[in-house]
Structure formats: C-alpha cells, structure tokens
C-alpha cells in the first residue's frame, strides 16, 4: 500500500527528490531481520515498519507515531496519514519545499480516503 502510494504520479518525483528509498524484505533479504531488529529496538508494531535516517545513518523519525508510539504501518486513517506527513516534514531538509509536502499530503488523502474502513459505533 505504502509502496503503491509512493509510486503515484504526483508523489513519486517529490519523494525521490527528498529521500533515497530502500525496501528491506525481512523474510527474503539476507540480514533483513537483523537490521529491522537493530533499528527498531524495543518499539512496538509489526510490518510494515519505516524509519528515516540521515546520511550518517542516524535516525530522524520512525513510523512509531508520537506521543503514543504506535506503528502507523501503511498509513490509512487520518491520524496515520498525519504522522506520515510529519515524518516527511521532519526529514525533508532543504530539498523539498512546504508546497511540495502539501502536494504529497493532499495526494495521500486522495489515495487513502477510499481505503478507510468505516468506524464501528
């Protein structure tokens, strides 16, 4: 789901401008599980799990949303989407403008809204 979103026409050029994309398959890639364990530590949540590092390998932000720390996985709900956009904001540096971030946020809403399950009452 996240991969499909990141490949969308509006989002992909902005995403590729600001971030180097790495997909690690914890089941099939050699050392995939070990890297996942090393970077995630004791934080909660299963897969998908994401983390953004600077060029030195230092963590900037992860998919464990603040302040509660739950993993947003592939963002779908309004709250998850908001944290995803926050992840991008915190790690966009000077390469991506706030207008471009707004474009991604809008595109995420367009992509996610039809996929949201109706809330149970």
């Amino acid at each position: 789901m996240l991969e499909e979103f990141l490949g969308r026409e509006l989002t992909a050029p902005i995403y590729n401008k600001g971030w180097v994309d790495v997909m690690i398959d914890v089941d099939r890639d050699t050392n995939g599980k070990a890297i996942n364990k090393r970077l995630k530590g004791k934080r909660s949540g299963g897969l998908p799990w994401s983390v953004i590092l600077d060029a030195e390998g230092k963590e900037i932000v992860s998919s464990n949303a603040e302040p509660d720390g739950g993993n947003i996985g592939g963002p779908a709900t309004a709250e998850e989407c908001a944290w995803f956009v926050e992840m991008l904001k915190r790690s966009s540096g000077d390469l991506v403008t706030s207008a471009e971030l707004a474009t991604v946020a809008k595109d995420l809403e367009v992509y996610s809204a039809p996929r949201r399950r109706p809330r149970r009452r």
Partner: protein, 161 residues
C-alpha cells in the same frame, strides 16, 4: 438511408468492441509494466500465467499448495490470455502455461500447464528464483547515495506475506 440507420448501431457496437479490446491490451501492458517494476523493487521474477479456453491458470497455480507460498515470495504474477502471447512471445499453440521473466524483462523459462502440476511445479520453478540480496549492502549503498545527493534515507521494512 434505411440501411444506414440499420448499420449505425452495428458500427457503434463494433467501435465499442475495438475500443474495449484496445483498453484490455493497454491494461495487460500496464499490468506487466507494474509487475516488472515490483520485481525490480522486491528482487523477484515476473511470472506471466497464460490461460486458454476459459481456464484461469493463475488461479490454478495459486491453488497448488506445493507452490502457493513460492508464488507469493518469489514471483510477481500477471494473468494473460494465451492468445496474447502467440505473437508477443511466440507461445506455441493456445494451451495454458507460464513464461518467466527476469525483472529486466529477459525470458528465463517457459512451461506448459502440464509441467507445473503438483509438487513437480516447485522443482521446475526453484532454479529460477532470484539470489537473495544482502540488506546490509542495500543500506550501505543507500547511505552512499544519500551523502552524495544530500538526501535522507527512507527505509521500509516489509515481508511478502
């Protein structure tokens, strides 16, 4: 005039038929393109399942317990009518079967439906699996690119299941 009126709905119907066939062809091409893109990203092969005479060969493959997991883990499957492969890949006859491609689009294997039955299917497909990629190397390479380009690294951990 009367003939023209009679022929008009037929012409519209034929035009609709042509448009639909073209749309289907475009859809298949897009499906294949997407499968290749996913195969590059996930270090997999592309399996084009060719169906004939109302069969659904991809469904049949997925129903084979010997390879259902393998299909999910090692291949990006695409379903197509066997007729679509006749000229594109010189598929012999009109029977069901499968053609396997590397992520870059090079054909690396082809099988008739009878080759991919039961446990034998796994023996046939196994030699075509991609070699595993080292995640440490992936990450190290990404950090080098990040340093060169001033970007940060977005790592997505996932699994085929």
């Amino acid at each position: 005039m009367k003939n023209n009126i009679i022929l008009l709905p037929l012409a519209l119907l034929l035009a609709h038929g042509v448009a639909t066939a073209q749309e289907k062809k475009a859809d298949l091409s897009l499906d294949l393109k997407k499968a290749h893109a996913r195969a590059v990203m996930h270090n997999k092969r592309v399996l084009v399942a060719l169906s004939s005479k109302g069969d659904d060969f991809l469904k049949e493959l997925r129903g084979n317990r010997a390879i259902s997991r393998t299909l999910r883990y090692e291949f990006e499957p695409v379903a197509m009518p066997a007729t679509a492969a006749l000229s594109a890949w010189k598929w012999q006859g009109e029977g069901s079967g499968a053609i396997i491609f590397s992520a870059s689009g090079k054909e690396i294997g082809r099988f008739q439906a009878s080759d991919l039955q039961g446990k034998e299917a796994l023996n046939k497909l196994k030699p075509l699996f991609c070699k595993p990629v080292d995640a440490d190397k992936k990450l190290a390479d990404a950090l080098v690119i990040a340093k060169k380009t001033g970007r940060n690294v977005f790592i997505r951990f996932d699994a085929p299941w």
